[in-house]
C-alpha cells in the first residue's frame, strides 16, 4: 500500500508536553556512554520528542504507513539552544516532501520542537523510507 499522496504539506498536531528531567537526561546520557553533569543534554536527546511526533504520523490510519516497513534514512538536528532539565518540550511535525523511488516512499519530515513558552529549541529533520511489501 502506497502512502497517501496528499501527505506532502500536512502538519500534524503538536505532541503532548514532554517534561525533561535530570533523571531522563542522565538515563539517555548513560545509555550512550556519556556523562551528565546537570548542564546541556546530549545533542541527540531531542529525538525522544521527535520520535513521538514521528510515531503519531506513522500510526495515523489516514496516512497509510505500515510501521514495520519504515526505515530511518536520514536525520538532522538544527539547534537554537541545548535542551536542559526543566524544559517542557513539544514537537509539531510537518511533511515537507514525498517522493517515490524504486518502489519506496521517501517521506521528508520536519519537527519543530519548542519549549513551554513556545520558543524554538531545535528543529529535527527526519527522512523516513517506507518500502512496499515485497511480493
Amino acid at each position: 500500500m502506497a502512502v497517501d499522496p496528499s501527505l506532502a504539506g500536512r502538519t500534524f498536531p503538536a505532541t503532548p508536553p514532554y517534561q525533561v528531567t535530570g533523571e531522563r537526561i542522565a538515563e539517555f546520557a548513560a545509555a550512550t556512554g556519556s556523562t551528565y553533569d546537570g548542564g546541556p543534554a546530549p545533542a541527540t536527546f531531542p529525538i525522544v520528542v521527535a520520535f513521538a511526533a514521528m510515531t503519531s504520523l506513522m500510526e495515523d490510519p489516514s496516512v497509510g504507513i505500515e510501521l514495520h516497513h519504515v526505515v530511518h534514512g536520514e536525520q538532522r538536528f538544527s539547534y537554537t539552544r541545548p535542551v536542559v532539565a526543566g524544559d517542557e518540550l513539544s514537537a509539531t511535525l510537518s511533511v515537507d516532501s514525498l517522493r517515490q523511488l524504486g518502489g519506496a516512499d521517501i517521506i521528508g519530515t520536519r519537527s519543530e520542537i519548542v519549549d513551554a513558552a513556545g520558543q524554538p529549541v531545535c528543529t529535527a529533520y527526519a527522512t523516513l523510507v517506507h518500502k512496499e511489501e515485497r511480493p
Binding site: 531522563r24 538515563e27 539517555f28 548513560a30 545509555a31 550512550t32 556512554g33 556519556s34 548542564g39 546541556p40 543534554a41 546530549p42 545533542a43 541527540t44 529525538i47 525522544v48 520520535f51 513521538a52 514495520h68 526505515v71 530511518h72 534514512g73 536520514e74 536525520q75 538532522r76 538536528f77 538544527s78 539547534y79 541545548p82 529533520y125 527522512t127
Partner: protein, 134 residues
C-alpha cells in the same frame, strides 16, 4: 581543543554491546524489536540485531562533544543511515570508530566532517556537525 581548518581530530572508539542497545531502547523510547530480537531482525532480512541508527548518531554526537570539551556547543548534527551496525550476542559486541576533520572555521562556527565506521565500513553517510566557537 583549538580548531583550525584542516585539523584532523583524535580518533574515538566506542564498544557497542546488546546491553547498550537495550538501555538505549528504554532511554529513547524506540522499542523496535530489530534492535533486540535476532528472530525479528532475521525475519526482515537482516543478519541479526542491529544498533538503532540514532544510537550510532548519538555516539557521533558524543565524539563531537568530547572534541568540543563540553556538551551544548553543537548547533547542527546530521547524517544518513547507510549501513547497519550489526551487534553480535556476546560480551565483546562490536566497535564504532569516529574520526573527524575540521572542514571550515568561521567567526562563529566550526564545521566538522565526520567519518563513522564499524568493521572498516562507513555506517553513516555524510555525517557532519557544526559547533559554536568556544
Amino acid at each position: 581543543m583549538s580548531f583550525e581548518a584542516g585539523a584532523v581530530l583524535p580518533e574515538q572508539q566506542f564498544r557497542v554491546t546488546r546491553a547498550d542497545l537495550v538501555r538505549y531502547a528504554g532511554a529513547s523510547g524506540d522499542r523496535n524489536p530489530i534492535h533486540w530480537s535476532d528472530r525479528v531482525a532475521r525475519s526482515v532480512g537482516l543478519p541479526g540485531v542491529i544498533a538503532h541508527g540514532m544510537f550510532t548518531m548519538a555516539l557521533a554526537g558524543r565524539a563531537v562533544d568530547t572534541w568540543a570539551g563540553e556538551p551544548g556547543r553543537i548547533r547542527e548534527l546530521g547524517c544518513k543511515f547507510t549501513k547497519p551496525v550489526i551487534v553480535p550476542d556476546d560480551d565483546e559486541g562490536t566497535t564504532v570508530t569516529v574520526n573527524g576533520t575540521v572542514s571550515e572555521v568561521t567567526d562563529d562556527t566550526v564545521r566538522i566532517t565526520l567519518d563513522v565506521r564499524c568493521a572498516g565500513e562507513k555506517v553513516l553517510g555524510m555525517p557532519k556537525a557544526v559547533l559554536a566557537r568556544g
